[in-house]
């Protein structure tokens, strides 16, 4: 155990440096730079609000905040897992020439997306103020659902990155899966439009629970109970554990397959 901690400490600067690198490369040569992380969700929200609350007349009170709470969390999840999935494959040239602990790559991608998520929270705050949404003290608990989503994405990202090394088909399959996942998550529609018999399918979706948690805190001003917390916690921790085990079992073979 001590060996792992020491090794992690040695490579912690690398994690920070890689995140910084990704940020620099992402915004290099754009005039607004990092402001795009805030602007992007805002503009998306404008599009979605005009389509869904004027064109389709979906009846959701305070649609902008409803949409943003869902979409910020979901785009973090989809961005993070997709980037983590290809991270080991793309770092092939590097891991064939220097020893680096392999988990650095998926973990870095997930953390980088998490940094982006934190930027987009600024957009959410902005919209909450603009629409004069009433918030209660419960909103201060907002890091909890984000951490659940982080753990879950980390676990799934680790599993996907291993799969991608051995079966490249997953790269193509996952984007389709993500699209389906987006539509099965109540991001821009209310839960109530899903027929009663499919509701159970909805409860199997971890993202549904995380987003609901987030909305309870921000939009409804309530704090989810113990059972909801236990559920979210077990989903995220179990996924993370499986991810770590799968990754550890396979990491020595990566260099032969990438």
């Amino acid at each position: 155990m001590n060996k792992y901690v020491a090794n992690f400490r040695k490579y912690k600067p690398l994690l920070g440096n890689l995140i910084l690198r990704d940020l620099k490369v992402k915004y290099r040569r754009s005039i607004l730079g990092v402001l795009w992380s805030v602007l992007n969700p805002l503009l998306m929200m404008l599009v979605m609000t005009s389509i869904f609350s004027t064109l389709f007349k979906i009846d959701i009170p305070n649609f902008p905040v409803y949409y943003l709470t869902g979409s910020i969390l979901f785009s973090f999840f989809s961005e993070a897992t997709s980037a983590a999935m290809v991270s080991v494959v793309y770092s092939g040239p590097l891991i064939k020439k220097v020893y680096i602990p392999k988990y650095i790559f998926p973990v870095e991608k997930i953390l980088f997306s998490f940094v982006n998520l934190l930027f987009s929270l600024v957009a959410l705050v902005f919209i909450i103020v603009l629409t004069s949404t009433k918030v209660t003290w419960s909103v201060l608990l907002f890091p909890i659902p984000l951490l659940y989503a982080l753990c879950f994405s980390l676990g799934l990202g680790l599993i996907l990155s291993v799969l991608a090394v051995f079966f490249r088909d997953i790269l193509h399959l996952y984007s389709v899966l993500l699209t389906a996942w987006t539509y099965f998550t109540p991001i821009f529609y209310p839960e109530s439009i899903i027929p009663e018999k499919f509701r159970t399918v909805l409860t199997l979706n971890p993202l549904y629970h995380f987003i609901n948690y987030f909305r309870d805190l921000v939009l409804h001003g309530t704090i989810p109970g113990i059972s909801e917390n236990l559920l979210c916690m077990s989903i995220s921790v179990i996924t993370l554990l499986i991810g770590l085990i799968v990754f550890k079992m396979n990491q020595d073979k990566f260099v032969l397959y990438v």
């Binding site: 040695k10 440096n17 620099k24 891991i95 020439k97 220097v98 397959y257």
Partner: protein
Amino acid sequence: MSEYAIDAKNIYMRFNLSKEKVDNMKEFFIKLVKRQLMFDEFIALYDVSLSVKKGEVLGIVGLNGSGKSTFLKIVSGIYKPSLGTVQVNGSIAPLIELGTGFDMDLTARENIFLNGAILGHSTKEIREKFDEIVKFSELHEFLDVPLKNFSSGMVARLGFAMATITKPDILIVDEILSVGDFLFQEKCERRISEMMNNGTTVIIVSHSIDQIERLCNRVLWLEKGKTRMLGETEEVCKAYKTTTSKF
């Protein structure tokens, strides 16, 4: 601490050549049943044992495909051997390919920090050595230029400076002294001999038998993944030269 810097015992390395070209379904199932699918093996190293004492300079010779680079990669921890154990005492600076891990979109300054982290150095360490790295690589004026605008010689210079700037316990050199102009080559060789004098353990792979004779205490001769000979420089080099001159 043991007296050995590197202690490798009975190393086997098996590669999967992944000749996965299967033309049709029939062939696929036949190969699946015969368990040949993607399991075309190639043995790169076959029962190689080697101990290197601290401060020793070891050369590895052999023709192409004899497993030299594979052996170095196992010692550096990049590959896990299929069988056998490797014990390494001390920090390793692998000079396997110069400029590994540089990001071409970042500037030289940013790359120094990123690459330092890849090699496992702390930010503080790199900040302390920053001026030295810049001085050695002679890139003062180009510090804030993205690496994609560098010439390959400039990249190699920065790579060499990065890899050797902290004093490693073990230095691994794989055929890299053929980059840059002759002045820089001399500078690199001076730096390596300087490290040797300071007690760094060095492993050199080279096709230049003169270089091996000049620098090494002991030589390992690999042939098709097996140890052909291991011993004093003079003896091994002589035998190697007489065999290879037949071709």
